[in-house]
């Protein structure tokens, strides 16, 4: 299955992936309207210390601990893509405890959100890949 991989050698720490992610998942057509004066809710986060940076999002594990930990049955694996049914999330935060990558975050409105490889929005291809100016994030089979 194609997954998102990050090569920290080319990550510039520009954080554009976060903004393109938040825009893609906002459902708003205009990027300015979607993000201006708002706390952005990205499903990808740039981790940075000194000169090293890289973007982290859901690894879409073959043995997803979040799925096992979810008491509401909200997180499931759909053809390898780990997706969340937000209507079933009870905000127990078990997935946050279970995920070794910190890939799940609570949305401002409350329930959990996570990267679904842009399969559930109108992007088609993951928006972070398209937005990365240096091909540091790739979407490929490995």
């Amino acid at each position: 299955m194609k997954r998102i991989y990050v090569n920290e050698m080319w990550c510039l720490g520009c954080h554009l992936c976060e903004y393109y992610c938040a825009y893609a998942n906002s459902g708003v057509k205009d990027m300015v309207k979607a993000l201006k004066d708002k706390q952005i809710q990205a499903r990808i986060t740039v981790e940075q210390r000194g000169a090293i940076s890289f973007a982290v999002n859901c690894r879409h594990c073959t043995e997803p601990l979040c799925v096992k930990s979810c008491i509401g049955g909200a997180i499931t694996s759909k053809d390898g893509v780990i997706v969340i049914d937000q209507s079933r999330c009870v905000l127990c935060y078990s997935c946050i405890m279970a995920c070794p990558y910190g890939a799940l975050t609570p949305a401002v409105e409350g329930v959990m959100q996570k990267c679904e490889l842009c399969t559930t929005n109108s992007q088609g291809q993951p928006a972070c890949i398209q937005g990365c100016p240096n091909k540091a994030i790739v979407f490929e089979e490995r």
Binding site: M9, W10, L12, G13, C14, H15, L16, Y19, Y20, Y23, M31, V32, L35, K36, D37, A51, G131, P133, N134, K135, A136
Partner: protein, 501 residues
């Protein structure tokens, strides 16, 4: 602080309605132009630091930014233009030579734009390159004037040490030091994919790039940086750099601040020591001396590699080229005065040398008249901007073309002409690891391959239009060119008729 006589040349226009304060402009500007105002919760900028490289503009996700020329003016004066006045303020303040980068921005005539290309109509057929064979492969090196045949009448090959180019365009010399590791790697990768050559420049060859050797031209310049037997044998050809179009008559200076560990090892000089290339080669004061170096290099490589001699286009270029053609060199590279540089004194860049179009035409003419054109191939560079410039250069007599500025633009360069600051936001003309990583060679080489593939398509189309199906048939075919708006002397030097004739 005193009085600051200089007003910033650019203004940064930020559309606050569109700015989402993602701060990418702030993070990506090595000149520290942009910053976030916590109190106002908005971005602001200090335009006095801006070099107009467009990094922020290109990365801004909402197109909230643009850079405009300031409309702040001096009292208008056709003689004392604002740049002239500002340069005087700069020099009065510093007492130093003005430094500049890339090719001259001055408004000198561009002869490429004053030549028009022919096409076939009625009496001779044009060729469709998509349906019929069209050859853009060419070979560089000494051509034998004699053809000998074996008993069965087959031609016995007698040319040796030829460079085979799948497209008649090569990447010209840019040293590792003047440009970054990733820029060099992009050029090397692209040259090997395209079946052409890139040039190490005078800074030696990084150990990681030896495996690109068969697509590499290794340079020997006056500073002899990084020259050793293994280096000479690593490339497909050796270039002796006598001069550079942007700064004929002077050497080079790579400041110690750019000489990090890798560059120090590649150039074989101490860490953080200034790398100074002398103006002349101290062992070359005549064509005979040049001949000695040509043969020393040939000897060192067992006569397997062609030797290129690169000179800047200067006033008596045809006599110089005639001498070089007799020195044993296989290829002459001529660099026109609009050629680029990582740093040069501005006055030299803007005032010394001659246009490559005129130099090429007169050299080709002179070598033909003397019957020694076949001794050497001619490669020209110094601001070849498009495939039509390539066609025109070949029709004027060039065997192949060198490009560098066009290649850097393909890598993202926006010609802000501040390479000498070492803070290239595009990761090209810098050695700062944070900035170098901005140029991913996978992306860079892909852009270069695309550019030359596109040019090659266009070259084929234009050659087909002329009814010509090979570079060999276009070379020196000045009947395919007509001048427009040129005077008698210019037409005579270019060896072309005026449009309508």
């Amino acid at each position: 602080m005193g009085i600051n006589y200089l007003y910033p040349p650019f203004e940064i226009m930020r559309n606050q309605d569109r700015c989402i304060t993602c701060r990418v402009c702030e993070r990506q500007c090595a000149n520290l132009v942009h910053h976030y105002d916590e109190d106002k919760k908005r971005m602001t900028a200090d335009e006095s630091l801006c070099v107009n490289c467009h990094r922020c503009v290109s990365l801004c996700p909402t197109r909230a930014l643009k850079i405009v020329k300031t409309d702040h003016i001096f009292k208008e004066n056709a003689n004392w233009k604002s740049e002239v006045i500002e340069d005087i303020y700069r020099q009065a303040g510093t007492g130093g030579v003005l430094l500049a980068s890339m090719g001259t921005p001055k408004d000198y005539p561009v002869y490429w734009d004053k030549m028009l290309i022919n096409a076939s109509q009625v009496t001779n057929p044009s060729i469709d390159p998509l349906r019929e064979p069209m050859e853009t492969r060419t070979y560089l090196g000494r051509k034998s004037s004699k053809i000998s045949r074996d008993a069965e009448g087959r031609i016995i090959p007698n040319s040796s040490g030829q460079l085979k180019l799948d497209i008649p365009i090569m990447f010209s010399a840019m040293s590792y030091g003047s440009i970054s590791y990733n820029a060099h790697k992009s050029l090397a990768m692209a040259a090997s994919e395209l079946g052409t050559f890139y040039n190490t420049g005078e800074g030696g060859l990084h150990k990681d790039f030896y495996h690109y050797g068969k697509n590499t031209i290794v340079q020997v310049a006056s500073g002899r940086f990084g020259v050793h037997p293994e280096y000479l044998n690593a490339g497909a050809a050796i270039e002796i750099k006598m001069g550079q179009g942007a700064k004929p008559g002077i050497g080079g200076h790579l400041p110690g601040s750019k000489i990090g560990e890798d560059i120090s090892a590649t150039r074989m000089i101490p860490l953080h020591a200034d790398a100074i290339s002398p103006a002349p080669h101290h062992d070359i004061y005549s064509i005979e001396d040049l001949r000695q170096l040509v043969y020393a290099l040939k000897e060192a490589t067992r006569y397997t590699k062609p030797v290129i001699v690169k000179v800047a286009a200067v006033h008596n270029i045809s006599a110089i080229a005639s001498g070089i053609a007799r020195s044993g060199a296989d290829i002459i590279a001529i660099d026109g005065f609009r050629g680029g540089t990582g740093a040069a004194p501005a006055r030299i860049r803007d005032n010394v040398g001659i246009p490559i179009e005129l130099a090429l035409a007169s050299v080709d003419q002179r070598l033909r008249q003397e019957g020694i054109r076949g001794n050497v191939s001619l490669v020209v560079g110094g601001s070849i901007r498009s495939s039509s410039d390539v066609i025109k250069a070949i029709a004027l007599g060039a065997d192949a073309i060198y490009i560098a500025t066009s290649a850097l633009i393909a890598l993202g360069c926006h010609l802000c002409r501040t390479c000498h600051s070492g803070k290239c936001n595009w990761g090209i003309a810098t050695q700062n690891p944070e900035l170098v990583k901005r140029l991913n060679p996978e992306v860079g080489s892909n852009h270069l391959v695309n550019l030359l593939t596109a040019w090659n398509h266009e070259i084929k189309e234009m050659m087909g239009g002329m009814g010509i199906n090979s570079i060999e048939a276009l070379r020196g075919n000045r009947l395919m060119l007509r001048g427009i708006g040129l005077n008698e002397t210019e037409l005579k030097i270019l060896g072309i008729a005026h449009a309508g004739q």
